[in-house]
């Protein structure tokens, strides 16, 4: 099992699928993710989008920011909806059309998980991208099962008492062909993973950490900086898993950078005590060691994060 690594000098190739003038908030991290996902997938794509900020970004009738057919489905049904499209395309002999889901974390980790797990078991042929802003941000920042430990949301005003679900590991345990984590602060890594997934077959899953300015309490110009800090402090390592077992860590933490550097940039963590910060740090360290063990390699991160 050869570990593999990100091409540090990956050149992003964009097809003009995503348009400017969309409805995202100024500075939105998710809009960046949508850009690199759609423009890497290209025009021969049908997208499925459940209720989410992505649906808002996609645009109200008769407008669309996406130059591809978009089917907006119900919150829990994305993977099943995409499966129906793929199977109909196959019956029509249209094997060169990509089927893409872009869903939020609520529509993936929570209410959409049954359909996603079923699609993964059947290895339905689709690229499923979860744009993870760690809560129901479109409805006013309520907690989802992706909300991290102790983060404030409007439904966990005292801080969330439970840990975030590890969706990448859950999907890897389905032994689907491809699972990857990515974030908007590393656009080359994100675009490369989407382009790689596009060339594969079966269920390919990418979870993209996308800071929500309003929900996280981040300044309008802060999405990219916070996204990079999530990686640089080890809070959200960038890695890939093929067939549920071939792990490759692409970008890991910068040695000596505590998770506090990430937490202090966001209003949702400002209530934390020193003990709570220490607890989160211990948790991050533990998860990082587990990932190392799964990857079965001495990790040499390819991109050492530079401070922005």
């Amino acid at each position: 099992m050869e570990p593999f690594h990100a091409e540090p000098n990956y050149i992003i190739e964009e097809a003009p699928v995503f348009s400017s003038g969309h409805n995202a908030c100024p500075g939105c991290g998710e809009a960046l993710a949508v850009r690199y996902v759609l423009n890497s997938m290209g025009p021969k794509t049908v997208a499925v989008i459940p209720p989410s900020c992505i649906a808002i970004i996609s645009g109200p009738q008769p407008y669309s920011s996406m130059r591809i057919p978009v089917y907006q489905t119900t919150l829990e049904a994305s993977a099943a909806s995409a499966a129906g499209i793929r199977r109909a395309l196959v019956r029509q002999g249209k094997d060169d059309v990509n089927v893409l889901v872009i869903a939020g974390d609520g529509g993936t980790y929570d209410i959409g998980f049954q359909a996603l797990s079923g699609a993964a078991e059947r290895n339905e042929d689709m690229v499923y991208v979860c744009l993870d802003n760690e809560g129901y941000m479109n409805t006013g920042a309520q907690k989802s099962s992706s909300t991290p430990y102790l983060a404030y949301t409007t439904s966990t005003p005292g801080g969330k008492p439970n840990d975030k679900k590890d969706i990448a590991e859950i999907m890897a345990a389905h032994r689907v062909p491809y699972v990857a984590t990515a974030t908007v602060g590393y656009p080359e890594d994100l675009a490369r993973k989407v382009a790689k997934a596009k060339e594969m077959r079966g269920l390919r899953f990418i979870v993209v950490l996308t800071p929500c300015l309003d929900g996280w309490g981040v300044p309008d110009d802060g999405a990219v900086r916070v996204s990079r800090l999530a990686v640089q402090t080890g809070f959200f390592p960038l890695y890939e898993v093929e067939e549920g077992e071939r792990y490759a860590i692409n970008v890991g933490p910068t040695p000596g950078w505590p998770v506090e550097r990430y937490l202090e940039t966001q209003r949702r963590y400002r209530h934390l005590t020193a003990d709570q910060v220490a607890a989160i740090q211990a948790h991050v360290d533990h998860k990082w060691s587990l990932l190392h063990a799964r990857a079965k390699v001495e990790c040499v991160p390819m991109f050492q994060g530079a401070e922005i």
Partner: protein, 400 residues
């Protein structure tokens, strides 16, 4: 128009035309053969008693190479219906089947399907809804979906279920409205009867390939489902209503042409021995078969009684029903469903349809078969006699 709504007699063995095959089939297997003849390309499905033999037979026919179909074994009815909608929107013919709790779980997506104008055909096998658990024939599951924008056709036996599945594709695809074909647990789903499976060539002649102008296709670029304003929503619902309003005439035409090709027709409702009737039983589904026996016996005893079988329930064919009961002084509805706070759903719908009619019949509503309790021909005879001697009350009345 009323002459077109009167179905052919169901008495005796159906005729065989060249290429037809007569088989001993359960109602559910008849549905599977009907679906096979209609050539759906994608069948997303999830198992639930008493629907499972439909899915099993489709699987067997697929494995045997007789049924060229993509059978998607979904992880829930909700996902099955979700995939039905998108497969249909992508431009292929879609079939599925469910029952009871499965239909309940689909409820959200049933609205989504009619909103998306996807002509899916689904068979629902009527079964009690929990709690508590039961496996008994009761029509409340499908009747609870009457506001979802699906056509509802209730059938009386396996042959009618097979024929109606094929007809339902024709109606649904002409109007872009999804259609539900409904038969009851066990009385129809698991009862063996001789069934004619029509020749494929004749079904192909009847049902051309599904080729929708609008579909999800990057070459076309059309999307579906994004947010609309109030005015757009209003216009969209109005269009759905207009399509629904065309169902009775479309279904009558579909049945007339089917009868011309296959030798069997049913109408959207049927008047059985209604000549000079002083009272008529009104029913749908399997109860009609029993009611025919009761009517025959009562007629032999000199009672002027007939049967009005409602096949098309949604949309409720008000004009045809009014014409069918004109001049009949009394109607007695036999229900195998219950809507708490309302009573029998057919009773309620029938009264609404007749309201404002000149010289309308009196309507008695009897909750006779709720929960799958047996309603024998003798019981129907007894209830007809009871209704003849009583003034009707507004409510549906429990009768065992």
């Amino acid at each position: 128009m009323t002459t077109l709504t009167t179905g052919a007699s169901q008495a005796g063995m159906p005729e065989l035309l060249p290429g037809d095959v007569r088989m001993l089939l359960t109602g559910n297997y008849a549905v599977s053969y009907g679906a096979m003849r209609a050539r759906p390309q994608v069948v997303p499905i999830y198992p639930i008693t008493p629907q499972t033999p439909i899915a099993e037979k489709i699987s067997d026919l697929q494995l045997a190479g007789e049924f060229d179909v993509d059978l998607m074994t979904a992880e829930s009815e909700h996902s099955a219906m979700s995939a039905c909608i998108t497969a249909s929107l992508t431009g292929v013919r879609v079939f599925t089947a469910t029952a009871s709790q499965g239909l309940m779980l689909m409820h959200e997506m049933l609205h989504y399907a009619s909103g998306a104008m996807t002509p899916i055909v689904m068979v629902n096998v009527n079964r009690t809804i929990g709690s508590p658990w039961g496996f008994w024939p009761d029509q409340t599951d499908s009747l609870a979906q009457r506001d979802t924008g699906w056509i509802q056709l209730y059938t009386e036996n396996g042959q009618e279920s097979l024929d109606t599945v094929i007809q339902a594709f024709r109606i649904a695809e002409q109007l872009l409205v999804p259609a539900m074909v409904i038969h009851e647990a066990f009385y129809i789903s698991h009862a063996l009867e001789p069934v004619v499976v029509p020749a494929q060539e004749r079904v192909d002649e009847y049902l051309p390939p599904f080729a929708p102008q609008h579909r999800l296709d990057p070459e076309i670029g059309e999307s579906w489902g994004n947010v609309v304003n109030q005015d757009m929503f209003y216009r969209h619902r109005k269009r759905l209503g207009e399509a629904m309003a065309r169902v009775p005439e479309t279904a009558i035409a579909a049945d007339t042409e089917y009868e011309a090709l296959m030798g069997r027709g049913y109408g959207i409702l049927e008047r059985y021995r209604m000549e000079g009737a002083e009272i008529a039983v009104v029913a749908f589904g399997a109860m009609c078969g029993t009611a025919r026996v009761a009517v025959d016996r009562l007629r032999e005893a000199g009672v002027s009684v007939g049967l009005l079988k409602i096949k098309l329930f949604r949309p409720f064919p008000i004009e045809q029903v009014r014409a069918a009961v004109a001049g009949v002084p009394k109607l007695v509805v036999m229900e195998r469903n219950f809507s708490p706070g309302v009573g029998g759903v057919l009773h309620q719908e029938l009264k609404a349809a007749l309201y404002g009619m000149a010289d309308p019949p009196q309507v008695h509503g009897y909750l006779a078969g709720v929960g799958g309790v047996n309603v024998s021909a003798r019981k129907i005879e007894e209830l007809v006699g009871k209704a003849m001697t009583e003034e009707p009350v507004a409510e549906s009345v429990w009768q065992r």
